[in-house]
Amino acid sequence: MHPIVRTVLQRLGLGLLTLFVVSVIIFSSLQFLPGDFATSVLGQAATPETVAAFRRELGLNEPAITRYIQWIGGVLQGDFGSSFSGRSQGREREVMELIGPRLWNTLFLAGMTAIIAVPLALTLGITAALYRNSFYDRAVNATTLTTISFPEFFVAYILILVLATLWKVFPSLANVRESTELADRIYMTALPALTLTLVIVAHMMRMTRAAIINLLASPYIEMARLKGVSKSNVIIKHALPNAWAPIVNVIAFNLAYLVVGVVVVEVVFVYPGVGQLMVDAVTTRDIPVVQACALIFAATYILLNLFADIVSIVTNPRLLHPR
């Protein structure tokens, strides 16, 4: 077998193994629930029979392995069980019903951010590296260092103050609905997307700059310069092929970071996404919903990192021979 194919397959296997272990951890969290949990979900008025039935439905009487297999089997078919909320009134809602439309909203927000942030960060990073130590470089660096230190909600509220209340350019609430048209949707999502962009551009730009500077310092680039290759050719023909791996890594790493940043920003702008759903579920201790959201976030995070790993192996044959 070709060594690249073998390494990629190994990585894929490792990624699947991690996903499996993570799903076990997320599932087993249910084991640590305090004993009176059924009573607190169903309310004080619940009869002992209903409590017993609820415990049976959660499967607390069966061995954990059986329950895990049932749960993961359901998850693989897109069935996360039913939510705890509304149980006391006898109304049940499928977790998937809650998550489905919100997942689409979250992906829309993340996608919109990525479309703005990735090209912007790469341009800023590469130009800052090329004109290193110039005034431009220092200004970009100082700005990004400051935005890195800001909590997401600080950036969000400053943007709301300036762009939504002082100058009413964008709406401060992004309560999109399923019926919202695409143009309206983009308009309403502008502020959350802008907040996330500011947060991740800083990271991405600094990492790109460091990667490119690192590369430009290597001897073969100096050689190319010394033999008189033009500046643009040095970048395009000599530097770029080796720069792909670090750049793709930077992008994937930051998109994975986006997964986390999205939670706070969705809450600030009351954006109906998975992050907000998760926070609500945490406050009401609606465990099936929390588990489903955690699994979705963790899986996205792991898959993005896995993707970055594979791209860097494919583009950089040196990684095939670890020391």
Partner: protein, 306 residues
């Protein structure tokens, strides 16, 4: 010691040429060379420190003392107005320094205790312990820590003790990685082998041989981890699942006063109220970052860029 002036004393000779500098003297000389940004950072940090320690003396009113008018405007009586229940915002900001920073410091210290000792131990042991811990850490790091802590908080319930333990354990994974990596370079030294052959205990080797040698990177990491923990706790409190009311805390203060921002046209000052605690958080993180940057530059010359 002989006081006979016939004997030659090297110490006496040298002392007359150049006085040995005291610890304070050396620190002062180092500080004088520090860049403006580091000075700015240190001044901000000491300001916060004083606020946190002397909070009851500095705050004009009590932490959860309630007055008649909720959302009172800025005035000489209430400098930054009152919040949704009629509590003085300035007093809560000052008490918030104590609570928010105190909890973040406690969490970071705990995570260094766990992660640091396990990391050094794994580096010395290098067998099943190292393998087991490293793989376990790999898995924990595969889940984004904000998501993981949200999940754990929903199970164990949100209170300060749970918050500290959960975030400390999740953050200890990063500390473990660094502690293990830097001590691996120290463990192979001859003097470590010598003390192990001498029969010193594991704790002795960790404390006397390895700890002094890994201290500079660990101190710098402490600053960076503190920022990260501080921001995570602030975010969790902002989301309403971290530090619970009535404890004054900057993250939850932002959330409680957030609606005021929509009145910016009528009362600009009131709209600034939610930005004050958020700005306090941002200022502290910037300050710590500046100091860490200078410290890293000074101790090892390692920086994330060339």
């Amino acid at each position: 010691m002989s006081t006979d002036d016939q004997t030659y004393s090297a110490a006496g000779e040298v002392a007359s040429v150049a006085e040995r500098r005291t610890w304070w003297d050396r620190t002062w000389r180092n500080l004088k060379k520090a860049p403006v940004t580091a000075w700015f950072g240190m001044i901000v940090i000491s300001f916060y420190f004083i606020l946190a320690v002397f909070a009851p003396l500095l705050a004009p009113y009590g932490e959860s003392q309630i007055f008649d008018t909720p959302y009172a405007p800025w005035s000489s009586e209430f400098w930054f107005g009152t919040d949704q229940l009629g509590r003085d915002v300035l007093s809560r900001l000052i008490y918030g320094a104590r609570n928010t920073i105190g909890i973040a410091v406690a969490t970071t210290a705990l995570s260094f205790l766990i992660g640091g000792s396990l990391g050094v131990m794994a580096a010395i042991n290098r067998s099943w312990l190292d393998q087991g811990l490293s793989r376990f850490v790999d898995v924990l790091m595969a889940i984004p820590s904000l998501i993981f802590s949200l999940m754990l908080l929903s199970i164990f319930g949100s209170n300060v003790i749970n918050l500290i333990i959960i975030i400390a354990v999740l953050d200890a994974t990063r500390v473990f990685r660094l502690a293990r990596a830097v001590s691996l370079n120290v463990v192979v030294m001859d003097y470590v082998e010598a003390s192990r052959l001498r029969g010193e205990s594991l704790g002795w080797v960790m404390r006397r041989d390895i700890l002094p040698n890994i201290l500079p990177p660990m101190v710098a990491e402490f600053g960076l981890r503190f920022c990260f923990v501080f921001l995570t706790i602030a975010s969790l409190s902002f989301l309403g699942v971290g530090i619970q009311p009535p404890t004054a805390d900057w993250g939850s203060m932002v959330r409680e006063n957030a609606q005021l921002i929509s009145f910016a046209e009528y009362d600009m000052k009131a709209a600034m109220t939610p930005l004050l605690p958020a700005g306090a958080i941002a200022l502290l993180t910037v300050a710590v970052n500046f100091v860490v940057d200078w410290f890293l530059h000074k101790t090892s010359g390692i920086r994330d860029e060339k």
